[in-house]
Symmetry: C2
Amino acid sequence: MNFELKPWSEQQLALVEQALSFWVREQTPANLGEVMRYGVLDGGKRLRPLLVLAAAQAVEGNLEAALRAACSVELIHAYSLIHDDMPCMDNDVLRRNKPTVHVQYGEASALLAGDAMQALAFEILATPSEKINPAMGAQLCYLLAKAAGQDGMAGGQAIDLASVGKSLNHQELQKMHELKTGALLKASVVMGAMCGQVNPAVLEQLSIFGEKIGLAFQVVDDILDVTADSAVLGKTAGKDAMQNKPTYVSILGMDNATELAQTLYKEALMALQNTKLSHQQPLAELAAMVVTRAH
Amino acid sequence: MNFELKPWSEQQLALVEQALSFWVREQTPANLGEVMRYGVLDGGKRLRPLLVLAAAQAVEGNLEAALRAACSVELIHAYSLIHDDMPCMDNDVLRRNKPTVHVQYGEASALLAGDAMQALAFEILATPSEKINPAMGAQLCYLLAKAAGQDGMAGGQAIDLASVGKSLNHQELQKMHELKTGALLKASVVMGAMCGQVNPAVLEQLSIFGEKIGLAFQVVDDILDVTADSAVLGKTAGKDAMQNKPTYVSILGMDNATELAQTLYKEALMALQNTKLSHQQPLAELAAMVVTRAH
């Protein structure tokens, strides 16, 4: 079967965009909905929703549940960027080639919109539906909460915060990224898989796939922070070096970092092949995109 | 049956404190757990957890689910205080007679700890348990998400933010508070009730009870902001007037505000009696505490 990532992605992302636009309503108290929509609609690579949908399709899972999970992981990702860009964190002014949310709407609105987006992510997963078993909703809430909270993204950001100006070794850097970006990327794959019926061995391999892709994503991010310019990235380039943050490039050097990305990619593909699932192409192509992307 | 609120509350709060201390672990990446514990343990009136537990006992519900719900609503409340106290919001330095979280640990840590606490609230409700039906977990997640997000607390805070220095009428003020503080107080009662099997008519009356108590709470808060001093409140008194925020006292005058609190209290009690439930005393006494409290 000939599978092409571009048309598949475009089709999936149209569904995601439509669903996000439905869930993140414009009509809310004050201008909260407007701020939330600014922060999540029309922008970003949407890698996490694509991983959810590709994994769900690989296991022939419940596509309504998968579309909800896709919106939820993107809302968590988008809220984390809004809070991360605030002056008390990274103090960044450019994101997805637009002024960051706090620059556009003020810090208080950015804080509140982020908070409301996190709540909405769980609301979407838990909203009763005739097509989704409530137990599946609860399980997706659990996976998302673990990936977003102290044992995942927020925990990784806390390590990041504590390590500015410090010298981390490879292992410490990897631990930080496994939590900060890895947990939600891995959860995207696992949540997609949980929209279907999978045996534990397959789930384990998909989980490894998600983990490797999550790490590869960050290694490539660190490489691009050095090699790409801001216009292509859609965010401020060279930020890590400027802030004296440890990166894979600063710790391993450019050549070893590039090699590491390739190794992680191969390990991810191997895990995927081990699943013996028949619809692997979307996940495999997304993995390739992660390591070859230019932004 | 002789019911006394004080020993009942002390017994319930010992359970809540123990459960919170279990869920909000000290051992987390960087010092995130320490910051979260500072923000939620050993402090506050714990009105929301008590409402959850009283409602669950009124309907003879699942007490393990209720204890989880009690921790979750308190975590949402505590995170909202942490974010609300930050310089970009209310910029407050005193809370529960201690320095606020951002004063103690810095703004970035306060932001992250609040974010992680919101995720943890949903994690607690969704964590698999042999004693809790996953469908109940999903339903509790849904109620909490609605109460915390754009249609609840965060939405109310957005209205609050947009109304500083503006003159609101009674109706607009009530709308703001129904969302900002009312939604989570009402959800506490409803979530407790959903830990049992209740018919829709009883649920409706408990929901009205929660709504009236939620509004009465805010009216009394506005009264105390004028009449009490900071040491008794455990937070900065007179803040609303200083910030030129509309309050029930500024809009209705002290006498009418006091009368309104009494009216809401009576309406709450009437709804509670309408339920014909046999274990109403804890809820009734909590309602009385809300209107007679000195802090």
